[in-house]
Amino acid sequence: MTAAVITPSRKGSGFWAAFARNKGAVIGLVFLTLVILMAVFADLLFPTSPWDMTTIPFQPPLSEDALLGSDTLGRDIASGIAHGARVSLLIGLTSTAVAVLIGVLLGAVAGFYGGRVDDAVMRFTELFQTIPNFVLAVVLVAIFTPSLASIVLAIAIVSWPPLARLARGEFMSLRSREFVQAAVTTGQSNLTIIWRQILPNSLSPIIVSASLMVATAILLESSLSFLGLGDPNLMSWGYMVGAARTVIRQAWWMSFFPGIAILLTVLALNLVGEGLNDALNPKLARKGRA
């Protein structure tokens, strides 16, 4: 869903100016910063474990000891949201990192070497794209039993193919550029060329893609939890909505607030992603290529 047309970046002073021109992106960034702060300082804001039964069950929001209400066992929803921010962000970021690693690696190899290697890698990628990714994620988590690691891995495994295609495209077009050809003639090793010459120049679209993928990963995690496939030891937003869905009519706040937390965070990530896109892929460059 990222913009299809991308060029080598022209970073520098213009970056922030370009980013700031997108008002939504700035709002997104501010909100995201707040979420990150909340995650970092969750232990100070809510010193007890979010699993602790601190109050009476089913307290509505604005109750004395539960600002956003309490759940079926009397656990504080606000505390859950603060601590849950950690888990949702952690799963979002690590699974994206793993997906980027797999995707860029395979895409780079395919794009750089071309020919049979490219063919083989692309067939492999297609295979993964043909299987509906949510179904695959469900199966993977079920097979490895739900835990932080299995969820991260499952999300990464279903998310890497678009990145591989993106990286492949970048590498293919950059490989024929003069500066790469020059490096080839000066006898630099393939690894050096990939690492020093091509990768830095293809980073910006990958960064944009990755920022959006974090958002998708958070949504995927919440969907898995909704179906009861979350890590039972971790309070994540997805888990909270999943646990609240059956009591939605007794306690709308239990699913409403974590749902809003997911919505706003995912929205913020998307806005930031768009801002990055604007900043890293200026329109001028786009036109030149079209």
Binding site: M53, L73, P146, G228, P232, N233, T246, Q250
Partner: protein
């Protein structure tokens, strides 16, 4: 309501004894007609009760198939396809006289030969619980078309319980004889003797049963149709009750947290009766092979650390009773005079201290894993509670989740520290209790066996002896002794005598009349029209 039911049950007995007799008119205004929509969840894999006895299969197929006996709320046997029976003084010979006018849904008469075929052939091959019972028989024979006799190798206390419909459903000989029972094409169109006939099954959606006009009890059943609706999502199921699109739910259909809300609805009635035959008991299963769980003081500490009232009130929303030991108080031969474990974290800590488990720098004395049973959200909540409660006495519990297959696989292969479990007791300790605790049932790879690895020769002896007699007083003594030992040893940490809520639309009467409740034939259920 219960008064009326009891009165009606008596009339039912009378009707069974003399089928031509009409229902005493004074009882109540029972009208023909009406359609009942009942939730069935999960969807049964097959409706042939002789082949599959999962809960939902029983509820649906209990209307199609019948057993020789049924049981009242106090687990006393009542006539069904057998109108009377007698037991020889030595407890070895059981003779049943069958009703004479019962017919299969295809019109063929039901006879003693069907009983012999079912118990000595069909169920022996397909039904593990029936196999366990009927393999105790030396011979099973039809004395005439309507008399059947079972001769046991040695007395077996709970033998009559084995004739409840799901324990020994009667299967038609003329249809199955000589076929491969499990793959027989006839399995697609179940044929029984019950008041309702199979009409249509739209997989994933509903099962439609229609009135059996040739039913052997005159004038019955009253309802025209029963639809069993498949609704996979718990939230949707409670909406269905609220909106009145279904008129009955049972067992775990309604998640516990919806119970208080549905209970308050004006159009439905809730009862927890009708599960006495199953009398499930829940517990934390403890793998006694691993440290520190091999020490009974640790297990006793668990009993003190868990607030079972809180579990009942906050997690099961008031359903159930804190369990006192291995036998449910509605099951036969219950013993209440045993060691008591009140909620007292201090006592728990004292026991753990006594064991020499000192708290470390992180406040933990021990670390154990708890494999959460994948049977719905209530068990997940329970896992979360146990984790927090054990943390209070310094035991760090790591929760693990898995799906049904993974759970069965790990527990039956003893790859767990703690897990939850609940089993049905089938009315008698010899059927549903001893299997959990006797050492010759420690069998790797077999679920619902003695997976804790608990072994106590005295317990083994008491259970064995109690099963081999049919003198109730003697059995009570033996079972009481066994219960006292078990409660001291805590091979599992008993939680609740579970209750299931049955929600029934107030217009439908007579649904829950026996110990098997919603799995009953429903031949006397009727609808009050407004």
């Amino acid at each position: 309501m219960s008064n009326r039911l009891r009165c009606f049950r008596q009339s039912l007995t009378a009707a069974a004894l003399a089928a031509m007799l009409a229902i005493p008119g004074a009882a109540m205004a029972q009208e023909r007609g009406g359609t009942m929509n009942i939730i069935v969840q999960p969807e049964p894999p097959i409706l042939v009760l002789g082949i599959n006895q999962q809960g939902p299969t029983q509820t649906v197929a209990g209307k199609i198939y019948q057993g020789l006996l049924t049981f009242d709320f106090n687990l006393k046997p009542q006539p069904e396809l057998a109108e009377s029976w007698e037991v020889s003084p030595d407890g070895k010979v059981y003779t049943f006289r069958l009703v004479k006018n019962a017919k299969w849904h295809d019109g063929k008469p039901f006879t003693a030969h069907d009983v012999v075929f079912s118990t000595s052939k069909f169920l022996m091959e397909t039904h593990p619980r029936a196999r366990a019972t009927f393999s105790k028989c030396e011979k099973i024979e039809a004395l005439d078309d309507h008399t059947v006799q079972f001769t046991l190798k040695e007395p077996f206390g709970p033998f009559l319980q084995a004739f409840e419909v799901s324990s020994a459903p009667m299967m038609p000989k003329h249809i199955y004889e000589g076929t491969d029972f499990k793959t027989a094409p006839a399995n697609a169109t179940p044929i029984g003797t019950g008041p309702f006939k199979f009409k249509e099954w739209v997989k994933g959606s509903y099962i439609h049963l229609v009135r059996n006009d040739e039913y052997w009890k005159a004038g019955k059943p009253y309802l025209d149709d029963i639809y069993f609706r498949v609704i996979p999502d718990a939230a949707s199921r409670s909406v269905a009750v609220e909106q009145g699109t279904v008129q009955q739910t049972q067992f775990n259909d309604i998640e516990t947290f919806d119970v208080p809300r549905l209970k308050a609805l004006p159009n439905v009635e809730m009862t927890t009766k009708g599960y006495e035959f199953f009398a499930p008991l829940s517990w934390i299963e403890i793998n006694t092979r691993t440290k520190p769980l091999d020490d009974k003081r640790f297990r006793q500490a668990m009993m003190h650390a868990l607030d079972r009232k809180f579990i009942r009130d906050k997690i099961w929303f008031g359903l159930g009773r804190p369990a006192t030991g291995p036998v449910n108080s509605v099951t036969r031969f219950y013993e209440g005079n045993v060691r008591k474990y009140d909620y007292d974290p201090k006592k728990a800590e004292a026991l753990l201290d006594e064991m020499g488990l000192k708290k470390g720098a992180d406040g933990n004395r021990a670390k154990v894993r708890l494999l959460v049973m994948p049977y719905g959200e209530t068990w997940t909540r329970l896992g979360e509670y146990v984790k927090q409660a054990m943390k209070r006495v310094g035991v760090d519990v790591t929760l693990e989740t898995t799906d049904a297959a993974g759970w069965v696989n790990r527990v039956s292969n003893w790859d767990y520290d703690l897990t939850f479990n609940f089993v049905y007791q089938y009315g008698d300790p010899a059927l549903g209790v001893s299997r959990t605790y006797v050492s010759d049932n420690i069998r790797k790879g077999v679920m619902f066996s003695n997976t804790m690895g608990y072994a106590n020769p005295e317990v083994d002896r008491l259970f064995a002896q109690a099963a081999q007699t049919n003198k109730d007083e003697e059995r009570q003594q033996l079972y009481s002794a066994a219960q006292k030992i078990l409660v001291e040893d805590v091979p599992v940490a008993w939680l609740l005598e579970m209750e299931f809520p049955t929600f029934i639309d107030k217009r439908f009467k007579n649904a829950v009349t026996t110990a098997i409740g919603v799995n009953e034939s429903y031949d006397s259920v009727y609808m009050v029209k407004k």
